[in-house]
Structures are given as C-alpha cells and as structure tokens.
Subunit: 243 residues, 2 copies
DNA sequence: AGGCTGGACTGATCCAGAGCAGCATTTCAC
DNA sequence: GTGAAATGCTGCTCTGGATCAGTCCAGCCT
C-alpha cells in the first residue's frame, strides 16, 4: 500500500480493478497539495487553465453566471471528484468553480495527466468513466429542472448526493453531513431560497427527509425514492468497455 | 478530393485542419449508409449498443423518459452530429434517440472508431472536441431551464440551433428550415405545447422571430441576442490543446 | 367529395412558486 | 461582549405558466 487510500482511488476502485502501476500513477497525481478558503473562486469562466484539481476534502460547486448576475449551479463536487478536468483539455472553460467549504485538493498539471494516461491505460479508462458519469449527472439535472416539481427535484437531488457520498465513504443510508446553505440549493435547483425553505419544511413534516444543522437525514428512504422517481442507473453504469 | 464533403467533415474542418489520412479515415466511417423513418426510435435507454451513427441528413432528438411518461428532450441532432457516441464506449445508454424526420445516417462500429483513432490521432482529438462541445451545449440547456423565462429560453434555443446549422451550411443569418413541431419545442424547453405557441406568437408580434410553416426567420437578430443573453462562447471554443 | 388526422391556435381557469418584507437565531470580527 | 453579517424561517400578494377544453385548417386516404 503506497499511500492512504484517497477518495478518488476509492471511487475508481469500486468500478475498475486498478493494477499496481495504475495506483502508483494515481498516487503521483497527488503530489501537489493545495488548500483554498471557503468561497474562493478556483476556476474562472472564460479563462484558460493548465491544471485540474482532485478534491480530497471539502465541497465545491461549478456554475455559470448570466448577464443579469443570476447563477445556475451545474453540479457540486465532493471528495473524490475532479474539478476542471475538461478545461485542461480545452483552452477555455465554459463555467466557474467555487469552493463551498475550505478545500484540500491535489493540483494536477496537464502533462501529468497525459503522461499518466500513456503509461497506465486502465487508469485512463477509469478516469474517462468518471468523466462520463459526471456528464450523465448533468443530463439528469437537466431532466430534474425541466420536468420535476420543486419537491421531486429536492428529493432527487438529496438522494443523488447521498449516493455519491456513500461511494467515497462519507455518510450512509441514514444520511450525511452537508455544508450547503439553502441558497446553494436554490441556485442548483432553479428555485428561490424562500421556496427551498418551504419545500424542506414540507418534506420534513411529511417525515421524508430532515435537512437541519448541516446534516441531511433520510427519515423515509423508500418514500423519497418513490416521490422523486430516483433511479440509480445513471450513477451505477457498468465500467467502460474500452479495452 | 475523396468524397463529397459530409456535414461532419465540414464541421470538424472549421476547427481543426485535417490531414489526408484523417480525411480518408473519416471517409471510411461513412461506408454503411442507413436510413430511418421519421419517428423511429434509434437508440433505446438502458440498452447496450455496438454502433453509433453520424447524421448525414435529417434531424433527431435525444431524450429521457420519466416514470410518469413525460419526456425531457436533452438535445437535438442535426446533420454532422454524432448519435450515441457515448453509448458506444460504455455498456448502456442513459437516454434514447428518436428520428424527428426521415434520416440518412452512417453507422459506425465501435471497432471502426477505435481503429480509426489509433491511426489518425488528429481526427481523434477533433471528434473529442465535438463531443466536448455537445457537453457544453447540455450545460447551456441546463442554465436555460433553470434561470431563463419562457421567452428567453425560446430565443436562446432558436439562436443556438441557427448557429449550429450555419456551421454545416444549412441556413444563414436570416433563418433556417426547421422540421420541429411545437410539441418538440415544449419537450425540450420544459414548457407546455400551449405555452410554446403563445411564446412564439409573442416573439413574432414583437418582430423578433417568426417560426411558421417549417421555417425560422430571424426578424431582429440583435434584438433576440439581447433578449436571451445569447453568447456563442460555448459553441466557438478553440480547438483541443491535446497534440 | 367526405371523413380523418396531426398540428397550430385560443380562451378560461387554477396553482406552484416568485418576490417582498419582516423577525429570530447563529456566527464572526474586533 | 457587542454590533454586524449571515442564515433560517414565516406570512402575504401576485404572476407565469399549466391545464382543460375546445376550434380551425391542411393534407391525407378511400
């Protein structure tokens, strides 16, 4: 065992059996450790970057800003997730990333990634798989915004977060610690903060979920799944076919 | 000149200078020509597939279906676009694809793609670039649903379609031929068909766009851009950095 | 020619969710 | 410890867009 298992290693290992070479290469991605204060804007929309980050601890969110100042959060990143992987391969980013809490992350340079992929092809497919999973999540968020009511949206969102966190060993069936404010939820779900509050209260009163004091508790997991039509298929896709 | 320039070639060439080898490999992708009737479901959510398609003529749409039967259209595909590229690399698809009109397409097998990428690396990056652009469009649709009003959404959507079609030589600044029904628009924009109709009428009365008889005419292009906050950045990103 | 179908269009009604304004509580800076 | 921000919570009003329940028109088929 080279290093203490990182959340990313844990996540990838759940889907692809990584060889020792893969694990060593992955460990090399974790050399430059950096930390950021809560609220720090890590990636700027429209700017070019030469590095991506692997989130080790803390939460971030990626979002786009509209001319009128409003923002739409596209996704949250939790430990084990990549930040700005796509912006490394392309010259400019189409979205920004901001630290929600204080963050510990590993900075990975473009060259590290390309070299790493060259000598650890299995790792490359694993990372591609993770990227594809992120994309599937964005599509699911699109469906969420387009076709579900505020309560269904919220339920679906919390269940998805729960499933993602469980994979990296944070939280379990009963719930998880969650540093998001109701403003974050509003920006992600396309609702007003006031309405988020009401929806949360209603779900709590119905005995479905409780989101208070930085903790989400699933009071009636099956009920939530039924309400939101949550289906983990898009999260649990089989690993890549690519040899 | 090997073959008549396909829409895909045209699109990729606008961003990456393709070599003769690239062009030959690309031409080999076009060997199996197939056609489908309007309304045919080409890719089924949850099923595995061993082939993708390159759209040569006609329109398609990719969508997800909810338990209650409603659907959310994620994106439309126009000539030059790939269908199901991701489902080739991964075992199952998370969405379905349906032909909107009668379609002419080239079927590409997984092996063709992988072999092709191996001996034409520049082509590989070009295709990756196209895939990344598709992803950026999905993100933009997310913002559209989450933060824009019905009219802004419609304006933004029509402008995006116009820009995409222009790139493959269909339509120009003044407008384009569009086979979509108002039901398609409703399913894509998260609105009811009735409301789509009202929004279109209003935009027409304001002298902004006219969508009638299968044709979209931009009556006041600048006005539409201003209304929707349309910014082509996410469509015009520079080509890939990957060598 | 008559009947049928699919899409465009309209008006009336209803409700989910926005916006605003105000208050309570916690957290933090100094 | 005290004032100032954040953050959470609530009641009220108002509106954007959904839903229902149709009409109208242009191809189709037979």
């Amino acid at each position: 065992m080279l290093i203490l298992q990182s959340p990313l290693t844990r996540k990838l290992s759940a889907f692809v059996a990584l060889s020792d070479t893969d694990l060593e290469t992955l460990a090399r991605f974790h050399r430059r450790r950096r930390s950021f204060l809560a609220g720090h804007q890590m990636i700027h929309e429209g700017h070019g970057t030469q590095s991506a980050f692997i989130l080790a601890d803390g939460w971030a969110c990626s979002y786009k800003t509209l001319p009128d100042g409003e923002r739409q959060i596209v996704d949250f990143q939790v430990p084990g997730d990549f930040l700005g992987l796509r912006s490394v391969l392309f010259r400019t980013t189409d979205h920004s990333v901001e630290a929600v809490t204080r963050i510990e992350a590993s900075e990975v340079m473009t060259s590290d990634i390309l070299d790493g992929f060259a000598n650890a092809p299995r790792l490359a497919t694993a990372v591609l798989w993770a990227a594809s999973r992120d994309e599937a999540m964005v599509v699911e968020h699109l469906v969420n915004l387009g076709r579900r009511s505020a309560e269904e949206r919220m339920a679906h969102f919390l269940l998805e977060l729960g499933a993602r966190l469980q994979l990296v060993g944070i939280g379990d069936k009963t719930g998880f610690a969650c540093p998001l404010t109701q403003y974050h939820l509003a920006d992600a779900l396309g609702l007003s903060a006031v309405h988020v509050n009401r929806v949360l209260r209603h779900l709590r009163e119905e005995g479905l979920v409780t989101f208070q004091k930085g903790r989400v508790s699933f009071d009636d997991f099956a009920g939530l799944v039924a309400l939101s039509g949550f289906d983990t298929d898009y999260l649990d896709q089989d690993g890549p076919l690519l040899r």
